[in-house]
């Protein structure tokens, strides 16, 4: 059922009991009808003022947004004119080192909330009957809960949703902990997709063992992790980058993350000069 946002009172003009002792009844009815019409005109003008006020506020907010947008465009135009196309561009290394662009636009939240209620609906709400004063029975409860909340609770659905979200977050956290404890399984796609060295220390030490002399005693020493190797690989363009897919390595298939360490892979697949 649609909710009437603005209603004009009185709805019926000619309905009403005539006072006693009136000589001319028709004139009396006409006068009371005209008085009701004047009340209706008063309500109508109030509603019209409210309508135009809402539209004005919205249009004003758009004007402010547009003026700030205009300033940003002007600043951008000035910045763009300062750019010099004759200067050589930096290599592709910088594109990968910089953080990816992430929009900082704030999405609308709590659109239908108590603060966003329009004025006529607030007035209608105030005219409604209040709930019974059950909160005076709260001191007599054993569980110390608010007695009115058992009759009506406007925050019930929000609390329910909040509990669901917290539960879901907790479940995800437990799942992650469980996976960490059990040891996450190796992904089969890694050997075909990424060229960067694998992140788990276990695989790096395994690679180190395979590269070293098999007769020597294998030491389980974790290699110090740095990004120098990654940068060296990325310094080359796509065509010159060492690719495990195209050049078959002698140790292919021995470990899921790629059999060679990045250093030796680079040395093995470097094109001949």
């Amino acid at each position: 059922m649609p909710l009437v946002k603005r209603s004009i009172e009185p709805r019926h003009l000619c309905r009403g009991a005539l006072p006693h002792g009136v000589t001319s009844e028709l004139e009396c009815v006409t006068n009371s009808t005209l008085a009701a019409i004047i009340k209706q005109l008063g309500g109508l003008s109030r509603h019209a003022e409210d309508i135009f006020g809402e539209l004005f506020n919205e249009a004003n907010s758009f004007y402010l947004r547009m003026s700030s947008l205009q300033e940003r465009v002007d600043q951008l135009a000035v910045k763009v004119t300062q750019l010099d196309s004759t200067v050589e561009e930096v290599s592709l290394q910088d594109i990968n080192m910089r953080k990816a662009f992430k929009s900082s636009t704030i999405q609308d939240q709590q659109v239908v909330s108590r603060t966003s209620v329009p004025n006529p609906v607030v007035e209608m709400y105030r005219r409604c009957d209040k709930p019974p004063p059950l909160n005076i029975l709260s001191p007599y409860r054993d569980d110390k809960k608010d007695a009115l909340k058992f009759y009506t609770d406007s925050s019930y659905f929000f609390n329910l949703w909040k509990e669901k979200m917290l539960q879901a977050t907790e479940d995800k956290r437990k799942e992650k902990r469980r996976q960490k404890v059990s040891g996450c399984p190796a992904h089969p796609d890694r050997s075909h997709s990424r060229q960067a060295p694998p992140r788990s220390p276990l695989s790096i030490s395994e690679q180190q063992r395979q590269v070293d002399d098999p007769g020597r005693e294998v030491k389980k020493v974790r290699k110090a992790r740095n990004r120098r190797q990654e940068w060296n690989v990325l310094a080359y363009d796509k065509e010159f980058r060492p690719d495990a897919r195209l050049t078959p390595s002698p140790y292919h298939g021995t470990s899921p993350e790629g059999s060679l360490s990045p250093d030796s892979r680079y040395a093995a697949n470097m094109p001949p000069e």
């Binding site: 004009i8 003009l13 001319s24 028709l26 004139e27 006409t30 009808t33 005209l34 019409i37 209706q40 005109l41 109508l44 509603h47 019209a48 309508i51 539209l55 919205e58 249009a59 758009f62 947004r65 547009m66 947008l69 940003r72 465009v73 951008l76 910045k79 763009v80 300062q82 750019l83 010099d84 200067v87 050589e88 561009e89 930096v90 910088d94 910089r98 662009f101 929009s103 900082s104 636009t105």
Partner: protein, 86 residues
């Protein structure tokens, strides 16, 4: 009898005229109400379209600003590198 009917008839005629006057006023009030409702709806729909376009523009400007600032940073680092080499 005819004299008695005249004032009554006059009163009834006057009442009809008053009712017609009231009817004209109430129909005008209804027309004003209809106009206000349709004006409100049409303004809201236009403002919603404007809001959509503004949002799209804001997002594009943000992206272009990020690109331009990245390009400026790259040029500055390039010029610094060339100064170091010299």
């Amino acid at each position: 009898m005819a004299g008695q009917e005249d004032p009554v008839q006059r009163e009834i005629h006057q009442d009809w005229a008053n009712r017609e006057y009231i009817e004209v006023i109430t129909s005008s009030i209804k027309k004003i109400t209809d106009f206000l409702n349709s004006f409100d709806m049409s303004c809201r729909s236009r403002l919603a379209t404007l809001n959509e376009k503004l949002t799209a523009l804001e997002r594009r400007i943000e992206y272009i600003e990020a690109r331009v600032s990245m390009t400026c940073w790259r040029l500055r680092s390039c010029s610094r590198a060339s100064h170091c080499l010299l």
